[in-house]
Symmetry: C2
C-alpha cells in the first residue's frame, strides 16, 4: 500500500542514511505518478460516501458491444470479440437526500481554459433532459497541470456549449469563467473530492 | 416488421384461401416467439417515456471485466478477452418528476410463485440503500407462462427476502401475495409496460 500526503504525493519511508542512495527512477517523476487518476479519485469519493451512508452514487459500467462469446465447458463464458461503444449518458448517477444526481468527470492538460470537445452532444442532451426533470446535474473538471478541480453546474456548461454554435464560436470555457461560475474542490484524504457540501447548498436554495 | 395485437400475439395476414396451406413451423409456436422478451419490452417502454419527455430512464451497460485489448492500426480497439461480471446495482435507473427511480426486472416460468433466487444479496442491499435515501425503488416481475406482469415495491420484496433467512424459510413469493401487494401491469402498444401511472400514485402519497 502506498501511503500518501493529503495532496496526493506518495509518502516515502526513508531508508538508513548509511545505505546506498537509491536512484529515483524516471517513471516516478512522470505526471501519471504524481497523484491518483481522476477516475480513481471519484471512485474513492463515491465509495466513501456510500460506506458512510451519505449518498448512493455509482459509476456505470463501460458500454461494450459484444460480438462473440465462447462457452467453454466447466468454466466461465469468455467474450472473445467486443468493441467499445460511445456512452449514451454520463458516467455517474445515483441518489442523495431523495434527489436524482447525475454527473460527468473530465480532465484537461490545458492551463487557461477547458476544451468543450471533451463532451459529446448526446451527453449534453442527456444532461439537459435530467435537469429538465428535476435532477441535480453537474460536471467535475480537472486541470491536471494546475492540479485544480472544479464543480460546474450543468446549466452553466450548457451556456458555453450552446454558444460555440452561435455568436461566440468559442470552443472552450476560460478558467476565469469556471472560477466565477463554479466551485473549486480542494483535495482531501477521504473523500478525495468532497463535492457533497456543494450539492447541499444547491438543495438549500431549491427548497 | 411483425404487426402485433396489443397482447403481444403476432397479427397474421391471411393469404388467399385458394392458395396452398402454409405449414406453421414449429419455431413460431415456441415460447420465444409468442411476444417480445421482457428486456425488449422494458427497453421499448423507457425509450417511449424518454421520447415523449415523461421520464429519463436508462438501462445500465452489462458489466464486463476487460482482460485484453488489441489496438490495430487504423481501426477500432478490439477487446479480445473479457468476462461477464455480476452487477453491483440494479439494471435500470433515472429520474421522474425530480425523484430518483431505480428498478430491476426479472422473469420466471413458475406459475404459482416467484423464486427469490432470481435476486442477489448485493442487489437487495443496493435497493435498500436507495430506498433509505429517498428513491422510488421497485421490481417488475414477469410470469412468462401466465403472460402476467407485476409491479412490486422494493419494500414488499424485502419482507419476503428477509423472511427466507428467518422463520418462514420460504424461497419464493406466492403469486397470491404479489397480486395483493403489487400491481398488475397490462401490456399496451406504447409503452408496452405502462408503469409510470403506478409511480404517480406513489408520489401522490409521498407529497
Amino acid at each position: 500500500m502506498v501511503i500518501r500526503y493529503p495532496n496526493g504525493q506518495p509518502y516515502h519511508i526513508h531508508s538508513d542514511k548509511t545505505g546506498p542512495k537509491k536512484q529515483v527512477s524516471k517513471k516516478s517523476l512522470t505526471h501519471k505518478n504524481r497523484g491518483m487518476r481522476l477516475e480513481d479519485e471519484i471512485n474513492q469519493s463515491i465509495k466513501y460516501y456510500r460506506q458512510t451512508n451519505q449518498a448512493i452514487l455509482h459509476k456505470k459500467p463501460t458500454p461494450v458491444q459484444i460480438v462473440n462469446v465462447d462457452y467453454p465447458k466447466r468454466s466461465a463464458a469468455k467474450i472473445t470479440e467486443a468493441y467499445f461503444r460511445r456512452a449514451s449518458t454520463t458516467d455517474y448517477n445515483g441518489v442523495y437526500k431523495g434527489y436524482y444526481i447525475d454527473f460527468e468527470a473530465k480532465e484537461t492538460r490545458n492551463k487557461t481554459s477547458f476544451p468543450l470537445k471533451n463532451f459529446h452532444q448526446h451527453q449534453i442532451d442527456h444532461m439537459k433532459e435530467c435537469v429538465e426533470h428535476g435532477g441535480i446535474v453537474f460536471v467535475l473538471l480537472y486541470f491536471s497541470r494546475l492540479q485544480k478541480h472544479y464543480y460546474l453546474a450543468a446549466k452553466d456548461l450548457f451556456i458555453f456549449w450552446d454558444n460555440q454554435f452561435k455568436e461566440s464560436k468559442k470552443k472552450s470555457i476560460p478558467l476565469s469563467e469556471i472560477e466565477k461560475m463554479g466551485v473549486e474542490i480542494h483535495i482531501e484524504i477521504s473523500p478525495r473530492l468532497p463535492f457533497l457540501p456543494i450539492i447541499d447548498k444547491i438543495i438549500q436554495n431549491k427548497d
